[in-house]
Each structure stands twice: as structure tokens, then as C-alpha cells.
């Protein structure tokens, strides 16, 4: 009952100084907007990571060359060889599906068209590891790897890149990779991007062909991919890869390894660092704005208490308790902050939308985040309103009534 009246009085006070109130809450507005945008970015990134992990394969481990150490001194990048890939395939008792990757950006030509394209030398297992599907034709097989055959499977976009429509006309045609003739045997389904990997724009050829006919005979792989049937085998697979690679590279127990084993989530983490950095920046802005905003609220509340000293005196003379006065000013500060909080949520929502449109960053404004932001602005109001409200409550009735 009494509380309701106090709320009405506080609301009237905010409304009586609407312009001042809105200006005062600007800090809170910016702070809350930053919080909302930050969380929206984070949520969006999280969502994208999950999608990409799925696209990249949840149960794929990537082996990359690491630093070769000798007595604590780096001796440059270590190398991954085809023998490593063979060892991983043959000695893991069928736990792992393995494919090497030897890749290079090279000129691809067809009729009058040509394009600078990523050429991927892989094994047939590669298509299974990444669950690639075919639109037309077929993948190459183990026999064609052994025979170093000049056959190519094109990513979904390649037909268009090479100027052929409809794409199936390309199957059976001859293209040139770095001037060497290849027969197109298949065209893949659309896959979409996963982090920096764009399978739709790649051309896949047997690893052996890549090594001996296209890339100058060097036995030097970019990566080895290994997949398990289910994601819960990843830990075992990790240990197994570590064991086999240590033996292949003759690394003693206790010595540093010269390779890295990563899962998809690890790889994506680096990729998402940019949005993360931006999120941290926003967190900083949010913290500072909320602090400045809170101090602004405190300042305006002190002004309000001073301006209304007489009123406080009158209310006290008529029987308002300290608690009633305190509540009145706390609720007023709370209102100011909630007002700012709500404008901030709207602004944050707008900013998130804009980021999605302009920078193509995925965002998601979660209802929980909105509730939390409003709750947080309320907390700021209570915290920074406390001192002014206490000052009002502790005013001496006589002094307050005499105040000019």
C-alpha cells in the first residue's frame, strides 16, 4: 500500500524531469547496450562454432608439423611424411580413418578459363572423414592413388568458376592443373564454409599424383587427418596417434614432440579470436560505461535530494519515516536505471542487428541476456542510489524545513 504510493511519487519525480532523466541515464544506456551486443556476439559466435564443428567433423583430429627441438633449441619446422600417414592407418587397428593432405595453390585451366585454386592431394578416405557427398560422377579410389593417376574431383563451385554449365558437362572433360592434364571424374555437393576451409572452391586429386606430378616430388604433408567413428573415441584416438607418431619420429619418453594434434574445437578457437577480442573490448566499454553511468545516477540523485530538501522536510514533518524517504529515493534511482536499461537493451538489439548486416557477424540476443541486463541496471541503480537515498533519509526534519 504505502510502497505503491512511494513508487508513484518516485515515478512522478522522474517524469517531472524527463529530459534530465534521459540524459542522466546515457551512461547506463551505453553500458547496457554494450553488454547486450557483447552477449549477442558471443552467443552468435558460439552458435557458429557449433555449426562449424559439425561441418568440420566432430570426431576429426588434425596432426600438424610442430617445432623440431634439439637440446631445447628450435631447428625449424618438423616434417610430416606419407609414411607417418601410412603408419597411423595401418597400426591403429582400424580405430582411425586416415588421410594425408598435401596442398598448394595452383593455376587450373579449362578451355579459355583459368583460376588460381587450392589443389588438395588426399586419399579417398578424406571424403569419408569429412562426409563429402557427390553431385555427379565418382571419387577416386585407392588404386588410382597407387597408380598416381591424373584424376580430379571438383568442389561445388568449380564448374561455375571454370565457366561450364550445366556442371555435369565437366565430368569426363579434361582440365589442366599447372599445365598437366587431369580427367574430371566427379563434382561434389555443396558443403559451405567451415572456418577458413572452403571445400566448394577446392580441387581434389590423389596425394601421390600431387606429390610426384604436380608439386615437385617432395614428401612433405601439410596435415594428416584422422577420424574415429564416434566422438567419444577421440581421447583414445589422441593417445594412439601420439604413441604412433612418437615412434615414427623416434621421440623418447619425456622429450618434446615435433607435431601437434588438434581437434576441431581447438582449431576453431583461434579462428574465433577476432570476435572474442571484440567481445572483450565491448566488455571493457560496458564496465566503464556502467561505472560512469552509475556515478552519473549518484550525482543526479544527490542533486535531486538537495533540490528537494524542503519536500523531504515536509514529508518528515507529516510522519514519513526514514525508511519511507529512503525507499522513495532508492526507487527513483532504480527507475532511472531501469529506464536506461530498457533504452540500452533496445540500442544493443539495434547494434547487434547492424553488426549482422554490415560485418556479417552472427549475433543472437538471448532473452536471458535481456533479463540479466535489466537486472543488472537495477542493481546499478540500487548500488549508486543508496548513498543519496541515505543522505535524504538521515536529514534532520527541522534543518530540511528551514533549507532555502
Amino acid at each position: 500500500m504505502l510502497f505503491f504510493e512511494i513508487v508513484m511519487v518516485a515515478m512522478a519525480a522522474v517524469r517531472a524531469n524527463m529530459l534530465r532523466s534521459v540524459l542522466t541515464t546515457l551512461g547506463i544506456v551505453i553500458g547496457i547496450a554494450a553488454v547486450i551486443t557483447m552477449v549477442a556476439l558471443g552467443e552468435g559466435a558460439q552458435q557458429r562454432v557449433e555449426e562449424q564443428i559439425n561441418r568440420m567433423g566432430t570426431s576429426v583430429l588434425t596432426v600438424r608439423p610442430g617445432q623440431q627441438m634439439w637440446g631445447g633449441v628450435s631447428r625449424g619446422d618438423a616434417e610430416l611424411s606419407v609414411d607417418d600417414a601410412i603408419a597411423l592407418r595401418d597400426e591403429s587397428d582400424g580405430l582411425l580413418q586416415v588421410s594425408p593432405e598435401q596442398q598448394s595453390r595452383l593455376q587450373v585451366a579449362y578451355k579459355r578459363w583459368n583460376s588460381n585454386t587450392q589443389i588438395m592431394g588426399v586419399w579417398p578416405e578424406y571424403f569419408e572423414i569429412y562426409d563429402h557427398g557427390l553431385q555427379y560422377g565418382r571419387f577416386f579410389n585407392q588404386g588410382e592413388v597407387q597408380g598416381r593417376r591424373r584424376v580430379a574431383v571438383l568442389g561445388f563451385n568449380m564448374a561455375e568458376t571454370l565457366g561450364e554449365t550445366p556442371p555435369e558437362l565437366l565430368v569426363g572433360e579434361t582440365i589442366q592443373i599447372r599445365g598437366i592434364m587431369f580427367e574430371v571424374i566427379g563434382i561434389m555437393e555443396e558443403k559451405g564454409d567451415a572456418a577458413w576451409v572452403r571445400p566448394d572452391d577446392q580441387v581434389f586429386i590423389p596425394q601421390s599424383t600431387a606429390q610426384y606430378r604436380v608439386m615437385g616430388g617432395r614428401d612433405r604433408l601439410n596435415s594428416i587427418y584422422a577420424a574415429t567413428d564416434t566422438p567419444d573415441q577421440l581421447d583414445v584416438a589422441f593417445a594412439e596417434i601420439d604413441r604412433i607418431m612418437r615412434r615414427e619420429h623416434r621421440i623418447k619418453v619425456g622429450e618434446e614432440v615435433d607435431f601437434n594434434i588438434r581437434n576441431s574445437a581447438d582449431l576453431l578457437e583461434t579462428f574465433n579470436e577476432t570476435t572474442q577480442t571484440f567481445a572483450f573490448l565491448l566488455a571493457g566499454i560496458a564496465a566503464i560505461s556502467l561505472l560512469v553511468g552509475g556515478i552519473g545516477i549518484m550525482n543526479i540523485m544527490l542533486v535531486s535530494v538537495t533540490e528537494r530538501t524542503r519536500e523531504i522536510g515536509v514529508r518528515k514533518a507529516l510522519g514519513a519515516t526514514r525508511k519511507a524517504i529512503m525507499t522513495q529515493f532508492l526507487v527513483e534511482a532504480l527507475f532511472l536505471c531501469l529506464l536506461g536499461g530498457m533504452i540500452g537493451v533496445a540500442a544493443g538489439y539495434g547494434a547487434s542487428e547492424m553488426m549482422t548486416r554490415v560485418a556479417a557477424w552472427e549475433t543472437r540476443v538471448a532473452p536471458e541476456a535481456v533479463v540479466a541486463a535489466i537486472g543488472f541496471s537495477a542493481a546499478v541503480g540500487l548500488f549508486f542510489g543508496l548513498w543519496p537515498a541515505r543522505r535524504a533519509a538521515l536529514l534532520d526534519p527541522i534543518d530540511a524545513l528551514r533549507y532555502e
Binding site: L318, A320, R322
Partner: protein, 233 residues
Amino acid sequence: MSDIIRTEGLEKHYHLGAETVRACDGVDLLISQGEFVAIMGPSGSGKSTLMNMIGCLDTPTGGQYWLNGTLVSEFSEDELARVRNREIGFVFQTFNLLPRATALHNVELPLIYAGISSKERRRRASEKLELVGLGDRMGHKPPEMSGGQRQRVAIARALVNEPALLLADEPTGNLDSVTSEDVMRQFEELNEQGQTIVLVTHEHDIAGHAQRQVHLKDGLLEKDFLNPVEPTG
């Protein structure tokens, strides 16, 4: 008749550096239910100080004060707020109305702090506004009213909680003489209906409306006497 106000050696001393201002320096005062008392004295004699202590707006630095038989000089701030709300109606020289609120809302204020429901508040507040002759001005705000009207709103506000004690500190100090007479007649009427009133003034005409005069000088009681009874009829 029972005592509404009883003070013994009531003191208010202010310490300003080495100097001590004895605004009230040991006042013994008895006021009974239904009395109409005027407190007189020159400026600075301690009238307001005494009045504020009687009205529980201020706390004494010494002595004791019983209101309606309760020793309120020992009360805490919140207990005093309750006493001000339930037992006392205060009228000020400067009206002390909330300028942005309507007359009705101003009169409702004490009832809000008494926790009365809005319907009942409205009923009681308009009743008191009718009583002081402002039934047709309830929606007006103080700046739209004359001094006399404002003071009558303040009187309605002071009466709205049916207080045991109506206090007024120079209520006519900001009014012209005609309006002052109106306001004083209002007080007389209220007193005739049994309302105990204590009023501070330094004007003899105003004090003449009361039944009894208490004179202060330098924070001390100087004279205390009954006004000659006016011939009735």
C-alpha cells in the same frame, strides 16, 4: 481535564564553538485538552524552538516532555515520525505545501504515511478541504492559490489525521490582516469543537483569539495568563 502537554525543565542548547545558545532554557509547561494557547514573545525568544520540540520535530537537549501521558522526549527518530503522523498536526508560517501536488494530494500526504487506503484518503481529505471552505479548489495546485487559501489547505492537512494537538507557528505571518482574521476564526471554530490548539505569534491581536497566553523571553517562561473572557452573545 487531562494534560496533553507536560514539560519539565525542557531545554534546547546549541553549541556554536565556545559559545552556548540557550534557545530554550528549562521550560515547565502544562496544557490541557481543549485549550487554545498562544505562545508570545519577541523574535529570538525561543518560541519556534519550543514549538518544534512540542511538535516532535526537534529533540530537547535536556528536560522531559510527556505528550498525552507518554514520555516522548526519549523517543527514537522513527517513533517520533509516528507521533508526528498520528498525534500532531502542524501549520507553518510558510505553508510548506508540495508545489507540484494538488490541494487534495497535499492534504492526503499524512494519510499516505499512516497507510490509509486511497479511497478512504480521498474521502477524508476532501472532507477536511470542505471544512476549511476549499471544496471547490481540490484540484488546484498551491501556485494557483492565494496565501489565505494555501494556509487553509495546510490547516486541512494538519487536521486530516484527527490529531490530538494542532500546532501553528506564526500561521498568519505571511498573510494580510483580513485573511489573518479569517484564519484565526477558523482556529476558534475548531477549538469550539474541542480541538486543542497551540499557536505561536508575536502579534497581540492574534494572541487575543486564544484563551490563554504564555510569554517567553530568552528561552524562559516569563508570563502565563488567561485572556479575559469575551462577553457571550
